[in-house]
Symmetry: C2
Subunit: 81 residues, 2 copies
Amino acid sequence: MKATVLIRPKEGILDPQGEAVGEALRTLGFSVTSARVGRLVDIDLETDDPAAAETALAAMSRDLLANPLIESFTIEIEGDA
Amino acid sequence: MKATVLIRPKEGILDPQGEAVGEALRTLGFSVTSARVGRLVDIDLETDDPAAAETALAAMSRDLLANPLIESFTIEIEGDA
């Protein structure tokens, strides 16, 4: 079963990388109000049970993928795999 | 108008960061077959026209956000902003 974890800097947390990207886009002529940069992790799980997958992915995100102090995460599980 | 660009290493492109994440997850006891790590950029655009936003985001991705040689990108525009 395939899933994607989206990891973003929390609201209010400074994101210098996003500010640099926003500034670069404006320099290139794009009308961008703001940009924030995060990470994504595509994970292929052995389980085929969506509920078990969701539980495992939340644990992975808390334990390893995200820094819960400064980052929030969203789990997206593919319809079927 | 808010949108997200998802950037992933192309199929067949080596992803050492993803391999490290997969290995770390297995070490922690999670049953993970594979993991691939990419980036996401949340962008707030001045335009409210979805078609114009899509065109601008594709140009941004090609010009700055992604490396088209080794990365593919997906554009997700929020239903309304």
